[in-house]
C-alpha cells in the first residue's frame, strides 16, 4: 500500500506525528491494530517497522502514526516530509476487544507512544458507549502526547508526570492505584506503554474483578504470522503464540508480560 505523507509534526522532543493518505482507502480499522512500514526502498534497514494506527478518518482516506525516535528506522521515518511516499502494509493484528457496554466503565492507561491506539479509540466516530477514564503518564508536561485529543474523547482525564509539571506527581500507575483505592471499579482496563507500566498494572488489578488488556511491542519481522519471531509465552500452556496475529493486545491473564 503506497501512502503519501500529508503532514509530519514534532509533538514532543523525540516524538513525531505523521499523517498518511493511502492510495486506496483503508478498510475498517480496529483500535489497537498496527501497520508495518517500510523504512525506505533499500536492503538496509531491511525489515519493516511496526507502528500502531493512531487515529484514522472513518472513510479510510487517511490515518495517523505517533513515532518515537529510538533508532535508525524511526529516525528515517520521522524525517519524512509532506509529499514523500512510504510503503505500508496492514492493518494487522486483532486490536482491542469490544469495550464494556453502557453500564460498565473503561479505563485507558497510556505511557509514551502507547497513546497511539487510543487516539483512534476515542475519536467521535468510534468512541465507546461506556464511561471512559483516561490515565496518561509522562516524564513532564511536555511529553503528555496527544493530551488534547484524548481528553476530548474521555469522560474523566487524569495525568501524572514524574516531575509534577502537570497533573499528579508520580507515575501513571500510582494514579491508577489511587483511583482503585478510592473505590472506582472499571469493568475493563486497556493499557499500552512500557513493560514496567504493564507489569505494575497487572499487580494492581490482581484479585479484582477487572479485565486487563495490554498491547505488546515484541520485535517483529513480518507482522502477519509468517516468521514466528514475535511470539509471547502463554501463561496457561507451554506454548508460544504470535503477537502479530493473536495480539498485539492480550488479556493480561493469559500471557507472560
Amino acid at each position: 500500500m503506497n501512502c503519501k505523507v500529508l503532514e509530519n509534526r514534532t509533538i514532543a522532543r523525540g516524538f513525531n506525528h505523521l499523517s498518511l493518505a493511502p492510495d486506496k482507502p483503508l478498510g475498517p480499522i480496529i483500535p489497537g491494530q498496527f501497520v508495518m512500514i517500510r523504512v525506505r526502498e533499500s536492503m538496509d534497514p531491511l525489515l519493516r517497522r511496526p507502528m500502531s494506527v493512531a487515529g484514522f478518518k472513518p472513510d479510510g482516506s487517511s490515518f495517523g502514526l505517533v513515532i518515537q525516535r529510538i533508532g535508525r528506522g524511526t529516525e528515517i521515518l520521522a524525517s519524512l516530509a509532506a509529499g514523500d511516499r512510504v510503503d505500508v502494509i496492514g492493518p494487522f493484528g486483532a486490536g482491542f476487544p469490544e469495550p464494556p457496554g453502557a453500564a460498565g466503565e473503561l479505563w485507558i492507561v497510556a505511557g509514551g507512544s502507547g497513546v497511539a491506539p487510543f487516539v483512534g479509540m476515542l475519536q467521535p466516530a468510534t468512541r465507546p458507549v461506556c464511561r471512559t477514564r483516561v490515565f496518561l503518564g509522562a516524564r513532564n508536561s511536555g511529553f503528555l502526547l496527544c493530551a488534547d485529543h484524548l481528553s476530548d474523547g474521555a469522560d474523566v482525564f487524569l495525568t501524572a508526570t514524574e516531575d509534577g509539571s502537570a497533573g499528579v506527581k508520580g507515575v501513571v500507575t500510582d494514579l491508577v492505584e489511587r483511583e482503585l483505592a478510592n473505590g472506582y471499579a472499571p469493568a475493563m482496563i486497556f493499557a499500552c506503554g512500557p513493560a514496567p507500566m504493564m507489569r505494575a498494572l497487572e499487580k494492581s488489578v490482581s484479585g479484582r474483578d477487572v479485565r486487563l488488556c495490554v498491547s505488546l511491542e515484541n520485535r517483529m519481522a513480518c507482522g502477519f504470522g509468517a516468521c514466528l519471531g514475535c511470539v509471547t509465552k502463554l501463561k496457561t500452556e507451554q506454548r508460544y503464540v504470535a503477537v502479530c496475529r493473536k495480539g498485539p493486545v492480550f488479556d493480561a491473564s493469559t500471557i507472560q508480560i
Partner: protein
C-alpha cells in the same frame, strides 16, 4: 513476452513457474491468501515439521542485521498430525505445488516422518531439513556430518517414492561433498542453501541478542555465498537444485538459474514484501525476453558454458 516458458519439472514436481516460497517464511501457505491467490506461484515449502509439535525457542528470536536478519525460531511447528488434519485439507483446492519440509531429532524420526508423508496425496514433494540439532550426537547439526547425512537420505529414500529433496547447510567447508552424498544416496534434488550461522551482541545487556545465542542469517546479505554454493553444486551433481538465499528481484532469480538452479525459493523477502512472489512471477518473463531467453529451462547453468 507471454511466450516465455516458465514451466519447470523439478525432480518430478511440476512447477508452473520457478518461484517457490521457502520453508519457515511461508507458514503452511494459507497465510498468504490474504495477499494473493496461491495458484499464481510455482509452489511453496511448509514450515519445518516434526513428528510432535514443538514450542520453539524463547524470545528474542529475531534480530535485524545489515541487509539481512538472524532467526532462532527453534523449529516451532504444529507437528505432523495437526498439519495433516488442519492445514493440508485446506490446500486441496489450491493449484500450486506443496512441498513439505521436515526434520527429526534422530535418524529414526526422519524415517518415521518420511513414511507418513509418503501417503499424503496433497503433498508434491518432501524436503529434508538436515540443518537441525542431532540429539543423539550431542546436538551437533546433522547437516555438517557427512555420514549421518548419507544415512538419513538413504533411509528416507527407502521410505518414500515421492520426490525427495535435501536442503543443505552452508556451514561446511565443502558443500559439494554433501551434494554428492545426497545424490549417491538417492536424493532427487537439492535445496541450496539454508541459513548461515551468525550472532549479534546486545552491548547494553552484555550478552547475545538472541536467547539461543546464535541464529541463522538470511536475506540479501547472504546472496553471494548462496550463489557460489549453487554454482559449485551444479558442477558436482546432476540432480536439480533449488537456489535459495536473499532473492529479492527478478534479476536475482536469473542469477541463480544461470548459476545452476532449476528453480528458486524466496524466504526473508516475503516478510519485507508479502507480494514478492507474484511480483517475481510477473517480472520474470519480461526480464527473460529482454535477455532473448525463451524458457527457464534453456538457461539453467548458463553461466558455466564458456
Amino acid at each position: 513476452m507471454s511466450e516465455v516458458d516458465l514451466r519447470v519439472n523439478f525432480a518430478g514436481i511440476s512447477l508452473k513457474n520457478p518461484i517457490v516460497g521457502a520453508s519457515g517464511t511461508f507458514g503452511y501457505g494459507k497465510l498468504y491468501e490474504q495477499f494473493y491467490d496461491l495458484s499464481i506461484i510455482g509452489g511453496f515449502v511448509t514450515k519445518g515439521l516434526s513428528l510432535k509439535p514443538r514450542p520453539g525457542n524463547p524470545i528474542p528470536r529475531i534480530c535485524e542485521t545489515p541487509a539481512g536478519m538472524l532467526n532462532a525460531i527453534g523449529l516451532q511447528n504444529i507437528g505432523l498430525e495437526k498439519f495433516i488434519n488442519r492445514k493440508l485439507a485446506g490446500l486441496e483446492s489450491v493449484d500450486t505445488a506443496v512441498i513439505v519440509n521436515f526434520f527429526g531429532e534422530t535418524v529414526d524420526e526422519y524415517v518415521q516422518m518420511a513414511v507418513k508423508l509418503d501417503k499424503l496425496d496433497g503433498v508434491s514433494g518432501l524436503e529434508i531439513n538436515i540443518s537441525c540439532p542431532n540429539v543423539t550426537k550431542g546436538g551437533a547439526s546433522f547437516g555438517t556430518d557427512i555420514d549421518t547425512t548419507g544415512e538419513v537420505v538413504s533411509l528416507c529414500r527407502e521410505a518414500t517414492s515421492k520426490p525427495l529433496i535435501v536442503k543443505l547447510s552452508p556451514n561446511v567447508t565443502d558443500i559439494t561433498r554433501f551434494a554428492r552424498v545426497c545424490q549417491d544416496n538417492g536424493a532427487d534434488g537439492l535445496s541450496v542453501i539454508n541459513t548461515l550461522t551468525g550472532t549479534a551482541i546486545d552491548i547494553a545487556a552484555r550478552k547475545p541478542v538472541l536467547a539461543n545465542i546464535t541464529g541463522g542469517l538470511s536475506g540479501p546479505a547472504i546472496k553471494p555465498v548462496a550463489l557460489r554454493m549453487v554454482y559449485e553444486c551444479y558442477r558436482a551433481v546432476s540432480i536439480p537444485i533449488f537456489g535459495i538465499g536473499g532473492i529479492s528481484f527478478a534479476r536475482d532469480v536469473v542469477e541463480f538459474i544461470m548459476a545452476g538452479a532449476s528453480a528458486v525459493q524466496v524466504g526473508t523477502m516475503n516478510f519485507v514484501n508479502p507480494h514478492i512472489l507474484p511480483e517475481l512471477v510477473s517480472d520474470l518473463p519480461e526480464l527473460l525476453a529482454s535477455l532473448k531467453v525463451n524458457s527457464v529451462k534453456e538457461i539453467v547453468g548458463a553461466a558455466h558454458h564458456d
